[in-house]
């Protein structure tokens, strides 16, 4: 019988639980006394402070209510508890999800019927729970504000207000108070609750609004026109049915908290790498590169590459020029051991390209750039970019690098101070390509495409002169791309 009643009440739209039904359901629950479910007139705005109406229970703790597992339908008598959304001591509001149970391919979300604090969980994960037996104990406030007011129907679009309850931000407030807040477009998280356990009372909402508008609000829970601010004359007419937008200039109650979380995943890898890098004494060297000719060349070659199915950026040129430079200055493609006793000159130019993915920084490398044509480099970069975008870069792609380039300019910037990725000894970062005026050799002012490059190198084995000469060579290849032809193998 109780089951049928429960079903009937479920079948109405969500919060239309009138007290009469409530009593009927409560009969199957021993603890709650019918007295507490009396209707409270909402006409008085001398709103009920919870403690005032507590008669038989102590003012310190509320009633412990055994919340039983209600009938699920189809004659199901037992289910398996699969996930708890709450733990003992958590505060829940009516309609918050308590747990997920499973029976015979049906997954059921059990929601709370009461506002209160969870005092006991009767089952552990994977336990079998029985319909009609207690699921959790909830300590409720003995006061139940009247449910006669029409509150939210199931089709609610004010995400932040329903989800405030559901998504773990447990602000204690009765449905009527929530409605008042919603009508006035107030975030419950911004209101300081003065009730028990920080519960937000109607008084708190009214006070908050009064502070905001500098006026006393009428007592009715329905939203009324708030008298306009004396300060802002801009507000001429206030549309009657729309909630009044809060003026931005007023200081808001800041209730955000600090948030600490462990460092894992990509960030942890970055922590480890950069901590190692700290041992390397870095020196920086920056220069300006005139890419006017390269820009023209790329425009010519872009359609050819596209015809072959490859997107051509500037990076393949930068990589190839770097490789040609490394042939002349192999010390930049080297590696030193722990104590800097031995230096290993790496034969392959595996040039790494810094990539920003949704998970963080990752540096895959193009293998053997010294053997690749510009087109082959472009193809490989396309492949790595695709894999990077879907977080599918393999170990082979990200290990074995000997030199790194970072095109931070694709996001923005001019100068950088890149950090070397051990066991490498040098790294370069490019700024954005900007159109700037420069003087040519005839002293005339011309429009040029300028990019800045910032190199960092390990000063234990590389000196400024070496870096400078390498940079000049690399620069010359890019400023006059035709000269690359002379040295291409």
């Amino acid at each position: 019988m109780a089951a049928a009643r429960v079903l009937r009440s479920w079948s109405r739209s969500a919060r239309h639980l009138s007290c009469v039904n409530h009593i009927q359901i409560c009969r199957s629950i021993h603890a709650v006394k019918p007295k507490y479910t009396c209707l409270f007139g909402y006409s008085s705005f001398q709103f009920s402070h919870p403690h005032r109406l507590l008669r038989t229970t102590s003012t310190v703790s509320g009633q412990i209510v055994q919340f039983k597992l209600s009938d699920i339908g189809e004659g199901i008598t037992e289910v398996i508890v699969k996930e708890w959304y709450v733990k003992e001591g958590d505060t829940v509001s009516q309609f918050d999800s308590i747990c997920e149970v499973q029976s015979d391919k049906a997954s059921v979300t059990i929601t709370s019927r009461y506002d209160g604090i969870i005092r006991k969980l009767y089952y552990a994960l994977e336990d079998t729970a029985f319909v009609g037996k207690p699921l959790v104990d909830i300590e409720t406030e003995s006061l139940k504000d009247s449910e006669e007011d029409v509150v939210e129907t199931p089709a609610v679009f004010h995400d932040e207000h329903t989800h405030q309850e559901i998504k773990g931000h447990k602000t204690l407030a009765t449905p009527a108070v929530r409605r008042l807040a919603m009508e006035n477009n107030i975030k419950l998280s911004e209101v300081v609750g003065t009730g028990k356990d920080g519960r937000i009372l109607k008084e708190d909402i009214l006070n908050y609004l009064a502070k905001q508008t500098g006026a006393i609000l009428p007592p009715s829970p329905k939203s009324e026109i708030i008298t306009p601010l004396p300060k802002s004359e801009k507000i001429q007419t206030i549309p009657k049915d729309k909630p009044i937008p809060l003026p931005v200039s007023k200081p808001k109650v800041f209730t955000d908290k600090d948030r600490t979380e462990p460092i894992t995943g990509f960030e942890r890898a970055m922590v480890k790498t950069m901590t190692m890098a700290m041992k390397i004494p870095h020196f920086g060297y920056c220069d300006e590169v005139d890419l006017t000719e390269l820009v023209k060349l790329r425009e010519q070659l872009k359609p050819l590459a596209l015809a072959r199915g490859i997107k051509l950026s500037y990076m393949p040129f930068f990589l190839k020029a770097a490789s040609l430079g490394l042939l002349q200055f192999p010390i930049l493609n080297a590696s030193v051991d722990e104590n800097c006793q031995n230096i290993t000159y790496k034969a392959s130019h595996n040039i790494g390209v810094a990539m920003d993915t949704s998970q963080g920084l990752i540096v895959p490398n193009v293998k053997n750039v010294q053997l690749c044509s510009v087109f082959e480099i472009a193809t490989e970069l396309n492949r790595l970019q695709k894999l990077g975008a879907t977080n599918q870069l393999g170990t082979a792609d990200i290990t074995g690098g000997t030199f790194t380039l970072s095109n931070i300019g694709s996001i923005g910037g001019t100068y950088a101070k890149p950090v070397i990725l051990p066991p490498e000894v040098a790294i370069g970062a490019f700024g954005a390509i900007k159109v700037l005026p420069r003087f040519n050799e005839k002293g005339k002012l011309i429009k040029t495409q300028i990019m800045n490059v910032s190199w960092s190198a390990d000063h234990r084995i590389i000196d400024g002169a070496t870096m400078s000469r390498f940079s000049n060579l690399w620069k010359s290849y890019l400023e006059n791309p035709a000269s690359m032809l002379l040295d291409l193998k």
């Binding site: 997920e100 997954s107 994960l125």
Partner: protein, 372 residues
């Protein structure tokens, strides 16, 4: 095996009705038949969520018809590592999704129809829905021998499973959805639904593998379009509503406010992998074909993240402190290949330059990654 068809054919055969301007919240008649214009599993699952959360189904039940591009869909409380071959799926670009209803793992592609029956809790009756489907099938092909089992599967000729069921019960509403195999690529299906991962110990709901068959094999008139129409017609007759299939776009925020957020949530790592019930892996492998030394790996995973990890090389083929370093650095990370790669790479930078050790280290890391 696969008969290619275009979505266009499918839509031309539909009767589409103008979408009511008030959205779907207030429907005059006693029910609705909806069909999704999208083949994206996440968008379609988001539609189910949206209807379940926002629509008033009192005396207005809804039938939702949808199909997806190749995807593996696991049940709410299942373990993807136990249920399917994630490596093959990554290679072939087959998506993985976790639905909110319980039950087992299924493979979806365009040869599989999904039917969702939305009702209020009191009208939730799965057997009734299955009987409706059987009637619809027999309306097209009266000789077809289809029976519903106790497990709420549909069996063809008494032995081949052509449909599996799952459902979700909420506070006021419930839905029952099931598949219908018309013309699925069963080669993909069987390769993808076989887990290669060894040593998994978990309490996640296991799937019950069954022999399957495509309806099209029995009778080549039973195409997806024909079957969808037939089910819709049967539903309309049963609920005494007009047989009008409304085409909906699951990305339309004006009709389904908030739906894109739901679809996004279904795609996050935290939902798909992080909701896996606690499990552990206890496995071992040889570093290479030549070596006989067995490396033992033990991993505890909770919420998709590694809670505890031990790697043992019993005959000291690898230095103990390196193994310890590796296993402790995994703790807290997601149990996923890309995070592991990046971490291994960072550790490799710190490891000594002994060539032999390096190669062993590389191999070990590859093997460890392969269990993810």
């Amino acid at each position: 095996m696969l008969i290619p068809f275009s979505m266009k054919n499918c839509f031309q055969s539909l009767y589409s009705l103008k979408i009511p301007t008030a959205g779907y919240k207030n429907i005059a008649k006693g029910g609705l038949i909806l069909q999704s214009a999208s083949n994206n599993i996440y968008q379609n699952l988001a539609v189910e969520d949206w209807i379940h959360d926002h629509m008033n189904l009192e005396s207005k039940p809804i039938l939702f018809l949808w199909r997806n591009s190749p995807t593996v869909v696991i049940g709410r409380h299942q373990n993807p590592w136990q249920e399917c071959n994630l490596n093959i799926m990554r290679e072939k670009g087959i998506k993985l999704a976790r639905r909110r209803s319980g039950g087992g793992t299924v493979y979806h592609d365009m040869g599989n129809i999904n039917l969702t029956f939305f009702t209020i809790k009191s009208k939730y009756n799965r057997m009734e829905n299955l009987k409706l489907i059987i009637r619809a099938l027999n309306a097209v092909q009266p000789q077809l021998d289809v029976q519903a089992t106790d497990r709420l599967d549909l069996l063809l000729d008494g032995q081949f499973k052509i449909s599996g069921t799952a459902s979700k019960i909420g506070r006021v509403a419930a839905y029952h959805h099931c598949t219908l195999l018309c013309n699925t690529d069963w080669i993909s299906l069987s390769s993808v639904l076989k887990s290669p991962y060894q040593g998994i110990k978990s309490n996640a709901t296991p799937s019950v593998p069954s022999l399957v068959k495509n309806l099209l094999e029995n009778d080549d008139t039973l195409t997806c379009e024909v079957l969808m129409e037939s089910v819709a017609a049967e539903y309309a007759a049963y609920h005494k509503i007009e047989n009008n299939i409304i085409l909906i776009s699951p990305t339309d925020e004006t009709v389904f406010p908030g739906i894109n957020k739901k679809a996004e949530e279904l795609q996050t790592w935290e939902w798909i992998y992080g909701k896996t019930p606690k499990f552990s892996i206890n496995t071992s492998f040889n570093l290479s074909e030549q070596s006989y030394s067995e490396i033992k790996v033990y991993v505890d995973i909770k919420n998709g993240r590694i809670e505890d990890c031990k790697i043992d090389a019993p005959d000291h083929s690898l230095p103990l402190e390196m193994l310890d370093k590796l296993s402790t650095s995994f703790i807290g990370n997601k149990f996923c290949q890309s995070e592991t790669s990046v971490l291994i790479n960072a550790l490799l930078r710190t490891c000594p330059k002994d060539y032999e050790l390096n190669t062993k280290w590389h191999l070990l890391c590859q093997k460890v990654k392969s269990i993810m």
